[in-house]
Symmetry: C2
Subunit: 317 residues, 2 copies
């Protein structure tokens, strides 16, 4: 398996410049006191479309051959990759079809349609999204842009960490949310290239610990339909590429429970005034709960902020 080299992340950064936002790094005395370390939070909730996914999607769309750009692309996603690909395609005039579960949060559904994409809904209890996506793609001649397991996606996601290292590096620790492993893959290759001694830790929801299990087993392990408030990390298994990159570049994958995610979100909303979704708070929650005990200068990826306020009102109380 050929891994994504650091230079591809550098090229991706040039490719997405002026299209994606260079997001801010947030520092907070309150968080530093709680974590007993100097935290730098890379705030991808402020990225276009509300998550880091816009980076990978933009990098992937920019490299599509002309014929594919005319015909259009398709993806399957519970939300953030859907919005990201829709917006990246809209910016480049590429038709996009998004296959989404019919229980996806309303705000993500509306946003995806708002970016001009055609949305095809399916019942996740009855249909596997990969199979349905492949079928529609074949019927209509569309090219699939997968949510994480693709070198252009992984390279694009790595640009978030690259910006952070440029703006405030070096870091002693890097803590990153882990769903399908695209952000973790890109982040880890950048961090090990720029700081070989730095420790990279991925964080999954306790109910969806497919990466931790897979790394322990030395092969890809599937978990069944994980139930967690971290809806962006409900992926059942690592991808082939993202698993190989985790084996090579990630020192450890740990987990946090949903209660810790709510606590971390509450802190970010209440004290830092930033709307972060539960998945986006995975890495910070692990630091605050002591699942990771980093010292020195710590980069914490905060991956997104797409949360349905109506449902958030339920767990905020």
């Amino acid at each position: 398996m050929e891994l994504v080299p650091f230079d591809d992340v550098r090229l991706a950064a040039r490719r997405i410049e002026g299209k994606a936002h260079r997001t801010p790094l947030l520092t907070s005395r309150t968080l530093d006191r709680l974590a007993r370390a100097r935290l730098y939070l890379k705030m991808e909730c402020f990225q276009r479309t509300g998550s880091f996914k816009f980076r990978g999607a933009t990098n992937a769309v920019a490299q599509l051959p002309e014929a594919v750009r005319r015909q259009g692309v398709l993806t399957f996603s519970s939300g953030n990759h859907a919005q990201a690909l829709a917006a990246a395609c809209q910016a480049e005039g590429v038709p996009a079809v998004i296959v989404m579960p019919n229980d996806a949060p309303r705000v993500k559904l509306e946003a995806t349609r708002g970016y001009g994409a055609e949305v095809v809904l399916f019942d996740p209890d009855e249909t596997r999204r990969e199979a349905l996506g492949a079928q529609i793609a074949e019927e209509r001649g569309l090219t699939v842009v997968p949510p994480f397991d693709h070198p252009h996606i992984v390279a694009g996601q790595g640009t978030a960490a690259l910006e952070a290292w440029e703006d405030a590096g070096p870091f002693d620790w890097v803590v990153v949310p882990c769903g399908g492993g695209g952000l973790m893959g890109g982040t880890s290759v950048v961090s090990k290239a720029l700081g070989p001694g730095c420790r990279v830790v991925g964080v999954e929801p306790e109910a969806g610990d497919d990466f931790r299990r897979s790394l322990e087993a030395g092969q890809i392990v599937r978990v069944h339909n994980p139930q967690t408030i971290a809806d962006g990390a409900r992926t059942p298994s690592p991808g082939n590429l993202t698993f190989a990159m985790a084996q090579e570049y990630v020192d450890e994958v740990t987990t946090v429970d949903d209660g810790s995610l709510v606590g971390a979100c509450r802190l970010l909303w209440e004290r830092c005034k930033c709307v972060v979704e539960p998945t986006g708070a995975l890495a910070l929650a692990a630091v605050l709960e002591g699942r990771v005990r980093p010292g020195g200068r710590v980069l914490v990826l905060v991956s997104g902020g797409n949360v349905d306020l109506a449902s958030a009102a339920g767990w905020l109380q």
Copy 2:
């Protein structure tokens, strides 16, 4: 009545440098499309202590005589000025007593105590805060730092607009929330100095339209115990200084209802991922509701983000 000159705002900016944050200006394609103008939102929710009030408090504390700094200061505030003065005093080692209503939001109460201040609670149905504050101050030899009607406070609050003009000016319109009028006073003197042709509009909650009434009457008018979700703008009347500055520098004061404030907050939370309190969204709500119809480049002050998440959960649904 001697107004605050623009040069005092410039001096305040030097005085608070390195103590207060230089807050970001937020731009959003979604908001621009809704407003049909180019909006620059000055995000004081990211200011230290969660609102612009830290600017005025820091500027005021920096100018206290040595004897006063040793003895301590006192203020009365429903929340944001309380936290701001407490934090400014903590940074300078000045004792602070804060007189707060016993129905102030929990998060503001806890934060104020967290900054090391002594909090004295009172029942707002039974006691006038000014009278109680004056009594305690006299008994304990404390100097009152009022929440808005003081030249050092007004000059400090003006530094938010000064930063915005430096970072992205010139502006054709400036729209600013109006409670006691300190932020509006400082913002308007800066804006008229740097852009004499620019139009400055203040925005109050409909239920607490003391500035609009006062400007129409040509003298200070009191409103009784205004009930609005904009808890930072429940001030019953303009101050002498802030009223005189409004007469001199503000072109118009308009109002919005609580429903519009909730709508504007929802947009800021959901689309921009920024936690803004209802008072903080006054100016944006007026633009989105068409109570102000600005064109060209528009500076919109977003004054704070201190909201109790438990109560927000109620109006977010």
